[in-house]
Amino acid sequence: MKRVAKERMVLLLIGALCVPLTSLMRGSVARADNSTQAATTVLQPPAIRIVKPTVAIDPKDFDGFVPAPVAGGK
Protein backbone atom coordinates (compact mmCIF):
# COMPACT_ATOMS: atom_id res chain seq x y z
CA MET A 1 0.00 0.00 0.00
CA LYS A 2 1.32 3.42 -0.84
CA ARG A 3 2.20 5.27 2.27
CA VAL A 4 0.97 8.56 0.98
CA ALA A 5 -2.35 6.91 0.40
CA LYS A 6 -2.34 5.85 4.02
CA GLU A 7 -1.83 9.39 5.11
CA ARG A 8 -4.60 10.60 2.90
CA MET A 9 -6.84 7.92 4.24
CA VAL A 10 -6.12 9.20 7.72
CA LEU A 11 -7.02 12.72 6.75
CA LEU A 12 -10.15 11.63 4.97
CA LEU A 13 -11.28 9.66 7.96
CA ILE A 14 -10.66 12.51 10.29
CA GLY A 15 -12.39 14.95 8.04
CA ALA A 16 -15.35 12.76 7.34
CA LEU A 17 -16.08 11.42 10.74
CA CYS A 18 -14.99 14.01 13.20
CA VAL A 19 -15.06 17.63 14.02
CA PRO A 20 -13.60 19.46 11.02
CA LEU A 21 -9.87 19.19 11.26
CA THR A 22 -9.37 22.86 10.64
CA SER A 23 -11.43 23.52 13.70
CA LEU A 24 -9.22 21.26 15.73
CA MET A 25 -6.17 23.09 14.57
CA ARG A 26 -7.69 26.42 15.35
CA GLY A 27 -8.62 25.20 18.77
CA SER A 28 -5.13 24.18 19.60
CA VAL A 29 -2.98 26.91 18.25
CA ALA A 30 -4.62 29.87 16.67
CA ARG A 31 -7.03 30.41 19.49
CA ALA A 32 -4.32 30.64 22.00
CA ASP A 33 -3.86 34.32 21.24
CA ASN A 34 -6.87 36.52 21.48
CA SER A 35 -9.44 34.94 19.24
CA THR A 36 -11.43 33.47 22.06
CA GLN A 37 -14.91 34.20 20.95
CA ALA A 38 -16.19 30.68 21.38
CA ALA A 39 -14.15 30.06 24.45
CA THR A 40 -15.61 32.89 26.43
CA THR A 41 -19.08 31.38 26.38
CA VAL A 42 -20.03 29.46 29.49
CA LEU A 43 -22.03 26.42 28.50
CA GLN A 44 -21.58 24.15 31.47
CA PRO A 45 -21.32 24.35 35.23
CA PRO A 46 -18.14 25.79 36.70
CA ALA A 47 -16.52 22.54 37.72
CA ILE A 48 -13.87 20.47 36.05
CA ARG A 49 -15.38 17.15 35.13
CA ILE A 50 -13.20 14.18 34.29
CA VAL A 51 -14.97 11.13 32.97
CA LYS A 52 -14.16 7.61 33.98
CA PRO A 53 -13.39 5.08 31.25
CA THR A 54 -15.73 2.32 30.19
CA VAL A 55 -12.95 0.03 29.04
CA ALA A 56 -10.51 -0.88 31.78
CA ILE A 57 -7.10 -2.47 31.85
CA ASP A 58 -7.21 -5.99 33.24
CA PRO A 59 -4.49 -6.09 35.91
CA LYS A 60 -4.08 -9.80 35.25
CA ASP A 61 -2.60 -8.97 31.84
CA PHE A 62 0.30 -7.42 33.70
CA ASP A 63 0.80 -10.06 36.38
CA GLY A 64 4.53 -10.61 36.73
CA PHE A 65 5.33 -7.88 34.24
CA VAL A 66 8.56 -6.04 34.97
CA PRO A 67 8.67 -2.59 33.36
CA ALA A 68 11.83 -1.43 31.64
CA PRO A 69 14.34 0.25 33.93
CA VAL A 70 13.81 3.98 34.17
CA ALA A 71 16.43 6.04 32.40
CA GLY A 72 16.75 9.56 33.68
CA GLY A 73 18.42 12.55 32.12
CA LYS A 74 18.36 13.26 28.43
Partner: protein
Protein backbone atom coordinates in the same frame (compact mmCIF):
# COMPACT_ATOMS: atom_id res chain seq x y z
CA UNK B 1 -3.92 -11.77 6.31
CA UNK B 2 -0.45 -10.33 6.00
CA UNK B 3 1.10 -7.45 7.91
CA UNK B 4 0.51 -4.82 5.29
CA UNK B 5 -3.12 -5.76 5.07
CA UNK B 6 -3.34 -5.54 8.82
CA UNK B 7 -1.74 -2.14 8.79
CA UNK B 8 -4.33 -1.03 6.30
CA UNK B 9 -6.97 -2.57 8.48
CA UNK B 10 -5.58 -0.91 11.53
CA UNK B 11 -5.45 2.48 9.91
CA UNK B 12 -8.96 2.04 8.64
CA UNK B 13 -10.59 0.49 11.66
CA UNK B 14 -8.71 1.91 14.57
CA UNK B 15 -8.53 5.38 13.14
CA UNK B 16 -12.18 5.33 12.31
CA UNK B 17 -13.17 4.10 15.70
CA UNK B 18 -10.57 5.72 17.80
CA UNK B 19 -9.13 8.76 16.13
CA UNK B 20 -10.96 11.33 18.14
CA UNK B 21 -13.96 9.07 18.73
CA UNK B 22 -15.81 12.18 17.91
CA UNK B 23 -18.86 13.68 16.39
CA UNK B 24 -22.50 12.78 16.62
CA UNK B 25 -22.11 9.85 14.24
CA UNK B 26 -19.73 8.08 16.58
CA UNK B 27 -21.92 5.37 18.00
CA UNK B 28 -19.04 3.97 19.97
CA UNK B 29 -18.63 7.17 21.84
CA UNK B 30 -22.32 7.47 22.43
CA UNK B 31 -22.58 3.95 23.71
CA UNK B 32 -19.57 4.51 25.90
CA UNK B 33 -21.31 7.44 27.45
CA UNK B 34 -24.57 5.63 27.99
CA UNK B 35 -22.69 2.65 29.31
CA UNK B 36 -21.43 4.48 32.28
CA UNK B 37 -19.26 7.47 31.58
CA UNK B 38 -20.44 9.92 34.09
CA UNK B 39 -19.32 12.94 35.93
CA UNK B 40 -15.95 12.10 37.30
CA UNK B 41 -15.33 15.34 39.13
CA UNK B 42 -16.16 14.91 42.74
CA UNK B 43 -15.95 18.43 43.94
CA UNK B 44 -15.79 22.06 43.10
CA UNK B 45 -12.72 23.95 42.07
CA UNK B 46 -11.86 24.75 45.65
CA UNK B 47 -11.69 21.16 46.75
CA UNK B 48 -9.79 20.24 43.62
CA UNK B 49 -7.09 22.76 44.20
CA UNK B 50 -6.88 22.18 47.92
CA UNK B 51 -5.95 18.64 47.15
CA UNK B 52 -2.81 19.77 45.39
CA UNK B 53 -0.81 20.39 48.52
CA UNK B 54 1.60 17.82 49.81
CA UNK B 55 1.03 16.96 53.44
CA UNK B 56 4.60 15.90 53.91
CA UNK B 57 5.89 19.38 54.59
CA UNK B 58 6.16 20.93 58.01
CA UNK B 59 2.92 22.02 59.61
CA UNK B 60 3.50 25.73 59.25
CA UNK B 61 4.57 25.43 55.66
CA UNK B 62 1.62 23.19 54.95
CA UNK B 63 -0.74 25.71 56.46
CA UNK B 64 0.76 28.48 54.37
CA UNK B 65 0.54 26.30 51.29
CA UNK B 66 -3.06 25.43 52.05
CA UNK B 67 -3.91 29.09 52.44
CA UNK B 68 -2.25 29.91 49.15
CA UNK B 69 -4.04 27.03 47.49
CA UNK B 70 -7.32 28.23 48.91
CA UNK B 71 -6.69 31.60 47.36
CA UNK B 72 -5.85 29.98 44.05
CA UNK B 73 -8.97 27.87 44.25
CA UNK B 74 -11.10 30.95 44.71
CA UNK B 75 -9.36 32.59 41.80
CA UNK B 76 -9.90 29.51 39.68
CA UNK B 77 -13.61 29.49 40.43
CA UNK B 78 -13.77 32.93 38.93
CA UNK B 79 -11.74 31.75 35.94
CA UNK B 80 -14.64 29.71 34.65
CA UNK B 81 -16.54 32.86 33.84
CA UNK B 82 -14.21 33.74 31.02
CA UNK B 83 -13.11 30.27 30.18
CA UNK B 84 -9.98 30.28 28.07
CA UNK B 85 -9.19 28.30 24.98
CA UNK B 86 -8.39 24.82 26.16
CA UNK B 87 -5.96 22.82 24.13
CA UNK B 88 -6.70 19.39 22.87
CA UNK B 89 -8.13 17.28 20.15
CA UNK B 90 -5.24 16.02 18.12
CA UNK B 91 -1.60 16.52 18.94
CA UNK B 92 1.23 14.54 17.40
CA UNK B 93 4.21 13.37 19.38
CA UNK B 94 7.48 15.18 18.82
CA UNK B 95 10.50 13.18 17.74
CA UNK B 96 11.89 13.40 21.25
CA UNK B 97 8.60 12.21 22.69
CA UNK B 98 8.54 9.26 20.29
CA UNK B 99 12.04 8.33 21.41
CA UNK B 100 11.16 8.77 25.08
CA UNK B 101 8.01 6.67 24.81
CA UNK B 102 9.79 3.82 23.06
CA UNK B 103 12.77 3.90 25.39
CA UNK B 104 10.62 3.97 28.51
CA UNK B 105 8.37 1.15 27.38
CA UNK B 106 10.86 -1.17 25.72
CA UNK B 107 14.07 -0.49 27.62
CA UNK B 108 15.90 -0.94 24.31
CA UNK B 109 18.24 1.68 22.88
CA UNK B 110 16.67 2.62 19.56
CA UNK B 111 18.45 5.95 19.18
CA UNK B 112 20.32 4.95 16.04
CA UNK B 113 17.15 4.01 14.23
CA UNK B 114 15.19 7.00 15.47
CA UNK B 115 17.94 9.45 14.56
CA UNK B 116 16.81 9.18 10.96
CA UNK B 117 13.47 10.83 11.63
CA UNK B 118 13.20 14.23 9.92
CA UNK B 119 13.06 17.20 12.25
CA UNK B 120 9.84 19.13 12.11
CA UNK B 121 9.70 22.89 11.91
CA UNK B 122 8.55 24.29 15.20
CA UNK B 123 8.23 27.99 14.66
CA UNK B 124 7.27 28.23 18.30
CA UNK B 125 9.09 28.40 21.59
CA UNK B 126 7.98 24.92 22.53
CA UNK B 127 7.52 22.11 20.03
CA UNK B 128 4.26 20.94 21.56
CA UNK B 129 2.59 24.16 20.43
CA UNK B 130 3.40 23.30 16.84
CA UNK B 131 2.22 19.72 16.94
CA UNK B 132 -1.51 20.26 16.85
CA UNK B 133 -3.23 18.82 13.84
CA UNK B 134 -2.19 16.08 11.44
CA UNK B 135 1.31 15.02 10.56
CA UNK B 136 2.67 15.82 7.14
CA UNK B 137 2.52 12.94 4.69
CA UNK B 138 6.28 13.19 4.21
CA UNK B 139 6.78 12.53 7.91
CA UNK B 140 4.30 9.66 7.95
CA UNK B 141 6.17 8.15 5.03
CA UNK B 142 9.47 8.30 6.87
CA UNK B 143 7.90 7.14 10.08
CA UNK B 144 6.57 4.02 8.34
CA UNK B 145 10.12 3.04 7.40
CA UNK B 146 11.36 3.84 10.88
CA UNK B 147 8.56 1.94 12.58
CA UNK B 148 9.33 -1.16 10.55
CA UNK B 149 12.99 -0.93 11.59
CA UNK B 150 12.02 -0.42 15.23
CA UNK B 151 9.70 -3.43 15.11
CA UNK B 152 12.41 -5.59 13.57
CA UNK B 153 14.99 -4.52 16.14
CA UNK B 154 12.68 -5.16 19.06
CA UNK B 155 11.54 -8.54 17.80
CA UNK B 156 15.18 -9.58 17.51
CA UNK B 157 15.93 -8.49 21.07
CA UNK B 158 15.52 -11.49 23.33
CA UNK B 159 15.44 -9.33 26.44
CA UNK B 160 12.51 -7.38 25.04
CA UNK B 161 10.62 -10.55 24.09
CA UNK B 162 11.29 -11.96 27.52
CA UNK B 163 10.05 -8.80 29.24
CA UNK B 164 6.74 -8.72 27.43
CA UNK B 165 6.21 -12.43 26.88
CA UNK B 166 7.64 -13.77 30.10
CA UNK B 167 7.55 -17.54 30.12
CA UNK B 168 4.65 -17.57 27.70
CA UNK B 169 6.09 -17.12 24.21
CA UNK B 170 4.09 -19.61 22.17
CA UNK B 171 2.44 -18.12 19.10
CA UNK B 172 0.05 -21.05 19.02
CA UNK B 173 -1.14 -20.34 22.56
CA UNK B 174 -3.93 -17.73 22.47
CA UNK B 175 -3.27 -16.76 26.10
CA UNK B 176 0.35 -15.92 25.33
CA UNK B 177 -0.64 -13.93 22.28
CA UNK B 178 -3.38 -12.01 24.04
CA UNK B 179 -1.11 -11.18 26.93
CA UNK B 180 1.68 -9.70 24.82
CA UNK B 181 -0.86 -7.79 22.73
CA UNK B 182 -2.50 -6.31 25.83
CA UNK B 183 0.81 -5.40 27.40
CA UNK B 184 2.34 -3.76 24.36
CA UNK B 185 -0.86 -2.22 23.08
CA UNK B 186 -1.84 -0.70 26.40
CA UNK B 187 1.55 0.89 26.97
CA UNK B 188 2.11 2.09 23.42
CA UNK B 189 -1.42 3.44 22.96
CA UNK B 190 -1.77 4.79 26.52
CA UNK B 191 -5.17 3.14 26.99
CA UNK B 192 -6.66 -0.36 27.00
CA UNK B 193 -6.77 -2.45 23.86
CA UNK B 194 -10.39 -3.19 23.07
CA UNK B 195 -11.23 -6.87 22.45
CA UNK B 196 -12.01 -6.51 18.75
CA UNK B 197 -8.66 -4.82 18.05
CA UNK B 198 -6.89 -7.47 20.13
CA UNK B 199 -8.55 -10.16 18.06
CA UNK B 200 -7.38 -8.55 14.82
CA UNK B 201 -3.86 -8.23 16.14
CA UNK B 202 -3.89 -11.88 17.21
CA UNK B 203 -4.18 -12.88 13.56
CA UNK B 204 -0.69 -11.50 13.05
CA UNK B 205 0.70 -14.33 15.16
CA UNK B 206 -0.65 -16.96 12.76
CA UNK B 207 2.32 -17.60 10.52
CA UNK B 208 2.23 -21.17 9.20
CA UNK B 209 5.77 -21.15 7.87
CA UNK B 210 7.45 -20.71 11.24
CA UNK B 211 6.98 -22.23 14.67
CA UNK B 212 8.17 -21.97 18.24
CA UNK B 213 9.97 -18.90 19.50
CA UNK B 214 10.61 -17.48 16.00
CA UNK B 215 6.87 -17.56 15.32
CA UNK B 216 6.17 -15.61 18.48
CA UNK B 217 8.88 -13.06 17.64
CA UNK B 218 7.50 -12.70 14.14
CA UNK B 219 4.04 -12.10 15.54
CA UNK B 220 5.39 -9.47 17.91
CA UNK B 221 7.21 -7.80 15.06
CA UNK B 222 4.11 -7.65 12.89
CA UNK B 223 1.99 -6.48 15.78
CA UNK B 224 4.49 -3.72 16.53
CA UNK B 225 4.44 -2.58 12.93
CA UNK B 226 0.72 -2.08 13.23
CA UNK B 227 0.84 -0.56 16.70
CA UNK B 228 3.51 1.98 15.85
CA UNK B 229 1.66 3.18 12.76
CA UNK B 230 -1.59 3.45 14.65
CA UNK B 231 -2.94 6.92 15.36
CA UNK B 232 -3.07 6.11 19.05
CA UNK B 233 0.70 5.88 19.08
CA UNK B 234 1.55 8.86 16.91
CA UNK B 235 -1.03 11.23 18.32
CA UNK B 236 -2.41 12.22 21.65
CA UNK B 237 -6.09 11.96 20.91
CA UNK B 238 -8.76 13.59 23.01
CA UNK B 239 -12.34 12.76 22.18
CA UNK B 240 -15.39 14.94 21.82
CA UNK B 241 -17.92 13.29 24.11
CA UNK B 242 -20.78 15.69 23.86
CA UNK B 243 -20.96 17.21 20.38
CA UNK B 244 -23.33 19.95 21.53
CA UNK B 245 -21.01 21.30 24.19
CA UNK B 246 -18.09 23.65 23.74
CA UNK B 247 -16.13 22.66 26.81
CA UNK B 248 -15.30 18.99 26.71
CA UNK B 249 -14.26 16.85 29.65
CA UNK B 250 -11.25 14.60 29.28
CA UNK B 251 -11.36 11.00 30.36
CA UNK B 252 -8.91 9.67 32.90
CA UNK B 253 -6.62 8.16 30.26
CA UNK B 254 -6.41 11.49 28.47
CA UNK B 255 -5.58 13.19 31.76
CA UNK B 256 -2.89 10.58 32.39
CA UNK B 257 -1.29 11.41 29.04
CA UNK B 258 -1.50 15.14 29.67
CA UNK B 259 0.28 14.67 32.98
CA UNK B 260 3.01 12.38 31.74
CA UNK B 261 3.75 14.31 28.57
CA UNK B 262 3.85 17.55 30.57
CA UNK B 263 6.17 16.27 33.29
CA UNK B 264 8.08 13.46 31.57
CA UNK B 265 7.70 14.21 27.87
CA UNK B 266 6.71 10.60 27.62
CA UNK B 267 3.84 8.14 27.95
CA UNK B 268 2.16 7.30 31.26
CA UNK B 269 3.74 4.42 33.12
CA UNK B 270 1.74 1.41 34.23
CA UNK B 271 0.86 2.77 37.70
CA UNK B 272 -0.53 5.95 36.15
CA UNK B 273 -2.48 3.97 33.56
CA UNK B 274 -3.90 1.81 36.33
CA UNK B 275 -5.06 4.92 38.19
CA UNK B 276 -6.74 6.01 34.98
CA UNK B 277 -8.26 2.60 34.40
CA UNK B 278 -9.78 2.45 37.87
CA UNK B 279 -11.19 5.94 37.50
CA UNK B 280 -9.16 7.18 40.48
CA UNK B 281 -7.59 9.83 38.26
CA UNK B 282 -10.95 11.58 38.07
CA UNK B 283 -10.28 12.68 41.65
CA UNK B 284 -8.27 15.92 41.89
CA UNK B 285 -6.56 14.64 45.00
CA UNK B 286 -5.26 11.67 43.02
CA UNK B 287 -4.08 13.97 40.22
CA UNK B 288 -2.10 15.97 42.76
CA UNK B 289 -0.67 12.80 44.24
CA UNK B 290 0.38 11.56 40.82
CA UNK B 291 1.94 14.93 39.94
CA UNK B 292 4.13 14.59 43.01
CA UNK B 293 5.06 11.03 42.10
CA UNK B 294 5.91 11.94 38.53
CA UNK B 295 8.04 14.88 39.66
CA UNK B 296 10.09 12.63 41.93
CA UNK B 297 10.76 10.15 39.13
CA UNK B 298 14.06 10.47 37.22
CA UNK B 299 12.04 10.92 34.02
CA UNK B 300 10.99 14.33 35.34
CA UNK B 301 14.57 15.49 34.78
CA UNK B 302 14.30 14.56 31.13
CA UNK B 303 11.05 16.49 30.78
CA UNK B 304 12.55 19.42 32.64
CA UNK B 305 15.60 19.42 30.40
CA UNK B 306 13.35 19.59 27.38
CA UNK B 307 11.61 22.60 28.90
CA UNK B 308 14.90 24.30 29.76
CA UNK B 309 16.39 23.54 26.35
CA UNK B 310 13.50 25.21 24.55
CA UNK B 311 12.90 27.98 27.09
CA UNK B 312 16.49 29.21 27.05
CA UNK B 313 17.23 28.21 23.46
CA UNK B 314 20.21 26.17 24.62
CA UNK B 315 20.60 24.62 21.18
CA UNK B 316 21.96 27.93 19.88
CA UNK B 317 25.18 27.17 21.68
CA UNK B 318 26.05 24.65 18.99
CA UNK B 319 26.01 27.35 16.32
CA UNK B 320 28.61 29.49 18.07
CA UNK B 321 31.86 29.27 16.09
CA UNK B 322 34.79 30.88 17.80
CA UNK B 323 37.83 31.78 15.72
CA UNK B 324 41.05 29.99 16.46
CA UNK B 325 43.51 31.83 18.66
CA UNK B 326 46.05 33.85 16.72
CA UNK B 327 49.42 35.22 17.75
CA UNK B 328 49.03 37.60 20.64
CA UNK B 329 45.45 36.61 21.43
CA UNK B 330 44.23 34.56 24.29
CA UNK B 331 42.67 31.25 23.21
CA UNK B 332 39.02 30.96 24.15
CA UNK B 333 38.01 27.72 25.79
CA UNK B 334 34.57 26.69 24.63
CA UNK B 335 32.93 23.30 25.02
CA UNK B 336 29.27 23.58 24.06
CA UNK B 337 28.07 20.22 25.48
CA UNK B 338 29.89 20.82 28.76
CA UNK B 339 28.53 24.35 29.10
CA UNK B 340 25.02 23.14 28.32
CA UNK B 341 25.37 20.39 30.88
CA UNK B 342 26.47 22.96 33.45
CA UNK B 343 23.38 25.00 32.63
CA UNK B 344 21.14 21.96 33.03
CA UNK B 345 22.74 21.13 36.37
CA UNK B 346 22.29 24.67 37.66
CA UNK B 347 18.67 24.82 36.54
CA UNK B 348 17.86 21.36 37.86
CA UNK B 349 19.29 22.20 41.26
CA UNK B 350 17.64 25.60 41.49
CA UNK B 351 14.28 24.81 39.93
CA UNK B 352 13.26 21.18 39.50
CA UNK B 353 14.96 19.77 42.58
CA UNK B 354 14.68 22.87 44.72
CA UNK B 355 12.04 23.13 47.40
CA UNK B 356 12.55 26.87 47.47
CA UNK B 357 11.13 29.65 45.36
CA UNK B 358 11.79 29.69 41.63
CA UNK B 359 13.54 32.98 42.32
CA UNK B 360 16.65 30.93 43.11
CA UNK B 361 17.21 30.35 39.41
CA UNK B 362 17.61 34.09 38.94
CA UNK B 363 19.50 34.92 42.10
CA UNK B 364 21.81 32.02 42.93
CA UNK B 365 25.51 32.22 42.29
CA UNK B 366 26.83 30.20 39.37
CA UNK B 367 29.57 27.59 39.82
CA UNK B 368 32.92 28.46 38.22
CA UNK B 369 31.73 32.00 37.63
CA UNK B 370 32.70 35.25 39.31
CA UNK B 371 30.85 35.33 42.66
CA UNK B 372 29.33 38.73 41.86
CA UNK B 373 27.44 37.27 38.90
CA UNK B 374 24.16 35.60 39.84
CA UNK B 375 21.31 33.90 38.07
CA UNK B 376 20.92 31.91 34.90
CA UNK B 377 22.07 34.77 32.67
CA UNK B 378 25.52 34.33 34.14
CA UNK B 379 25.63 30.77 32.81
CA UNK B 380 28.04 30.55 29.88
CA UNK B 381 25.74 27.91 28.40
CA UNK B 382 22.93 30.46 28.24
CA UNK B 383 24.71 33.70 27.38
CA UNK B 384 27.13 32.00 24.96
CA UNK B 385 24.36 31.12 22.54
CA UNK B 386 23.58 34.82 22.11
CA UNK B 387 26.96 35.81 20.73
CA UNK B 388 28.26 36.17 17.21
CA UNK B 389 31.59 34.42 16.90
CA UNK B 390 33.83 35.84 19.62
CA UNK B 391 32.00 39.12 20.07
CA UNK B 392 28.89 39.86 22.03
CA UNK B 393 25.62 40.88 20.47
CA UNK B 394 23.77 43.24 22.82
CA UNK B 395 20.66 43.25 20.65
CA UNK B 396 20.37 39.46 20.75
CA UNK B 397 20.92 39.49 24.47
CA UNK B 398 18.41 42.27 25.04
CA UNK B 399 15.84 40.55 22.90
CA UNK B 400 16.39 37.27 24.73
CA UNK B 401 15.88 38.82 28.15
CA UNK B 402 12.87 40.82 27.00
CA UNK B 403 11.10 37.91 25.34
CA UNK B 404 12.26 34.84 27.25
CA UNK B 405 12.72 36.15 30.77
CA UNK B 406 10.31 39.08 30.94
CA UNK B 407 7.64 37.90 28.47
CA UNK B 408 7.56 41.26 26.73
CA UNK B 409 6.16 41.42 23.24
CA UNK B 410 8.83 42.68 20.87
CA UNK B 411 7.66 43.03 17.27
CA UNK B 412 9.94 41.84 14.47
CA UNK B 413 12.24 44.47 12.96
CA UNK B 414 10.86 46.43 10.01
CA UNK B 415 11.89 45.35 6.50
CA UNK B 416 15.35 46.53 5.65
CA UNK B 417 16.53 46.77 9.22
CA UNK B 418 20.18 45.93 9.53
CA UNK B 419 21.72 43.15 11.55
CA UNK B 420 24.94 42.99 13.46
CA UNK B 421 27.79 41.26 11.79
CA UNK B 422 30.93 40.14 13.49
CA UNK B 423 33.22 42.08 11.17
CA UNK B 424 31.41 45.35 11.82
CA UNK B 425 31.48 44.76 15.53
CA UNK B 426 35.20 44.30 15.42
CA UNK B 427 35.68 47.94 14.45
CA UNK B 428 37.03 50.33 17.04
CA UNK B 429 33.62 51.49 18.08
CA UNK B 430 31.97 50.24 21.23
CA UNK B 431 28.55 48.60 21.00
CA UNK B 432 27.08 51.43 23.06
CA UNK B 433 28.36 53.98 20.57
CA UNK B 434 27.00 51.97 17.69
CA UNK B 435 23.62 51.28 19.28
CA UNK B 436 23.10 54.94 20.02
CA UNK B 437 22.07 55.22 16.38
CA UNK B 438 18.96 53.22 17.22
CA UNK B 439 17.86 55.87 19.64
CA UNK B 440 18.14 58.69 17.12
CA UNK B 441 15.81 56.90 14.71
CA UNK B 442 12.24 56.97 16.08
CA UNK B 443 11.16 53.82 14.25
CA UNK B 444 14.08 51.91 15.81
CA UNK B 445 13.90 53.55 19.21
CA UNK B 446 10.43 52.20 19.95
CA UNK B 447 11.77 48.73 20.62
CA UNK B 448 15.50 49.28 20.93
CA UNK B 449 15.30 51.65 23.88
CA UNK B 450 14.54 48.72 26.16
CA UNK B 451 16.18 45.95 24.17
CA UNK B 452 19.52 47.74 23.82
CA UNK B 453 19.56 48.91 27.42
CA UNK B 454 19.32 45.33 28.67
CA UNK B 455 21.84 44.08 26.14
CA UNK B 456 24.37 46.76 27.01
CA UNK B 457 23.93 46.06 30.70
CA UNK B 458 25.37 42.59 30.04
CA UNK B 459 28.46 43.83 28.21
CA UNK B 460 30.74 42.95 31.11
CA UNK B 461 30.16 39.32 30.11
CA UNK B 462 32.22 38.38 27.08
CA UNK B 463 31.06 36.12 24.24
CA UNK B 464 31.21 33.03 26.41
CA UNK B 465 30.18 34.63 29.68
CA UNK B 466 33.51 35.43 31.29
CA UNK B 467 33.72 38.65 33.31
CA UNK B 468 35.67 41.45 31.61
CA UNK B 469 36.23 45.16 32.14
CA UNK B 470 37.63 46.22 28.73
CA UNK B 471 37.01 45.52 25.07
CA UNK B 472 39.86 44.19 22.95
CA UNK B 473 40.31 47.80 21.81
CA UNK B 474 41.28 48.59 25.45
CA UNK B 475 38.26 50.80 25.82
CA UNK B 476 36.54 50.44 29.16
CA UNK B 477 33.14 48.77 29.21
CA UNK B 478 30.22 50.88 30.34
CA UNK B 479 27.40 48.55 31.39
CA UNK B 480 25.51 51.14 33.40
CA UNK B 481 21.92 52.05 32.80
CA UNK B 482 18.42 52.31 34.15
CA UNK B 483 15.88 49.54 33.68
CA UNK B 484 12.30 49.18 34.83
CA UNK B 485 11.53 46.09 36.85
CA UNK B 486 8.35 45.54 38.85
CA UNK B 487 7.16 48.91 37.60
CA UNK B 488 10.08 50.82 39.09
CA UNK B 489 13.02 52.41 37.33
CA UNK B 490 16.15 50.92 38.83
CA UNK B 491 19.60 52.35 38.09
CA UNK B 492 22.74 50.23 38.10
CA UNK B 493 26.39 50.76 37.34
CA UNK B 494 27.74 47.33 36.44
CA UNK B 495 26.50 44.03 35.02
CA UNK B 496 26.61 42.26 38.38
CA UNK B 497 24.36 44.92 39.85
CA UNK B 498 21.82 44.54 37.05
CA UNK B 499 21.80 40.76 37.44
CA UNK B 500 21.12 41.17 41.13
CA UNK B 501 18.20 43.53 40.47
CA UNK B 502 16.83 41.16 37.83
CA UNK B 503 17.15 38.25 40.25
CA UNK B 504 15.08 40.05 42.85
CA UNK B 505 12.37 41.18 40.45
CA UNK B 506 8.93 39.66 40.47
CA UNK B 507 8.63 40.16 36.71
CA UNK B 508 10.93 37.26 35.85
CA UNK B 509 9.08 34.91 38.19
CA UNK B 510 5.72 35.88 36.73
CA UNK B 511 7.10 35.36 33.24
CA UNK B 512 8.44 31.95 34.20
CA UNK B 513 4.97 30.92 35.39
CA UNK B 514 3.50 32.06 32.08
CA UNK B 515 6.21 30.23 30.15
CA UNK B 516 5.63 27.01 32.05
CA UNK B 517 1.91 27.39 31.36
CA UNK B 518 2.72 27.57 27.65
CA UNK B 519 4.72 24.37 27.99
CA UNK B 520 1.93 22.66 29.93
CA UNK B 521 -0.93 23.79 27.73
CA UNK B 522 0.82 23.44 24.41
CA UNK B 523 0.07 27.01 23.34
CA UNK B 524 1.05 30.47 24.51
CA UNK B 525 -1.33 31.93 27.09
CA UNK B 526 -3.59 34.60 25.66
CA UNK B 527 -5.62 37.35 27.19
CA UNK B 528 -8.34 34.83 28.01
CA UNK B 529 -5.86 33.00 30.23
CA UNK B 530 -5.19 36.01 32.43
CA UNK B 531 -7.42 34.71 35.17
CA UNK B 532 -5.80 31.29 35.20
CA UNK B 533 -2.32 32.78 35.23
CA UNK B 534 -3.26 34.93 38.19
CA UNK B 535 -4.24 31.76 40.03
CA UNK B 536 -0.73 30.34 39.74
CA UNK B 537 1.77 30.78 42.56
CA UNK B 538 2.79 34.39 42.75
CA UNK B 539 6.17 35.92 43.60
CA UNK B 540 6.37 36.49 47.30
CA UNK B 541 4.22 33.47 48.16
CA UNK B 542 5.60 30.89 50.56
CA UNK B 543 8.66 29.36 48.99
CA UNK B 544 7.18 25.87 48.90
CA UNK B 545 4.19 27.27 47.02
CA UNK B 546 6.21 29.38 44.61
CA UNK B 547 8.50 26.46 43.92
CA UNK B 548 8.78 24.53 40.70
CA UNK B 549 6.67 21.67 42.03
CA UNK B 550 4.14 24.17 43.34
CA UNK B 551 3.82 25.67 39.87
CA UNK B 552 3.49 22.28 38.20
CA UNK B 553 0.83 21.22 40.70
CA UNK B 554 -1.10 24.44 40.17
CA UNK B 555 -0.90 24.17 36.39
CA UNK B 556 -2.11 20.57 36.46
CA UNK B 557 -5.26 21.87 38.16
CA UNK B 558 -6.06 24.64 35.70
CA UNK B 559 -9.18 24.39 33.53
CA UNK B 560 -7.11 24.67 30.38
CA UNK B 561 -5.01 21.69 31.39
CA UNK B 562 -7.91 19.45 32.38
CA UNK B 563 -10.43 20.22 29.65
CA UNK B 564 -10.54 20.88 25.95
CA UNK B 565 -12.57 22.91 23.52
CA UNK B 566 -14.90 21.40 20.95
CA UNK B 567 -14.57 23.77 18.04
CA UNK B 568 -17.40 22.06 16.25
CA UNK B 569 -19.83 24.05 18.40
CA UNK B 570 -20.33 27.69 17.66
CA UNK B 571 -22.05 29.81 20.27
Amino acid sequence: MNTKQHITLSLTVSLTAALLSCGPAQHKTSSQRSAGIGPGGTGDAASQTNAGVSSSTAAAAAAAAAAADQARALALTGCYKDYPAAQGGLRSLSNDQIANVLTDITGVDLSTILAGLPRREQGTKFPNAALAGPLASSFIDKWADTAFSVAAALAADTGFIQRFGGNCVDAANPACVQRVIKRLGTLLWRRPVDPSTAAQLADLFKNPNVSGAPAFALGVRQMLEVALLDAHFLYRIEAVRDPATVIQPLDTFEVASRLSFFIWQSAPDLPLLMKASSGELADPAMIAQEVDRLLLDPRAERGFRQFAFDWLALGKLDALKLPAATAGTKPVSFDAPALREQAFSFLTANLLRSSGSVQKAFSSSVPNQDPSLVGLLALPGVIGGLSVADVTNPVKRGLFVNVRLLCHDVPPPPPGAGAFKAETLALDVTPRERLDKHLTNPSCATCHTTVDAIGLSLESLDAVGALRSQYSSRKNIDASGVLTFDGQAQPFKVTAEMLKILGQSKDVQTCLASTLAEFAWGAPPGTANTCELSSLPQPGAATNVNSWSGMVRALANTPTFLQRINDGVKP
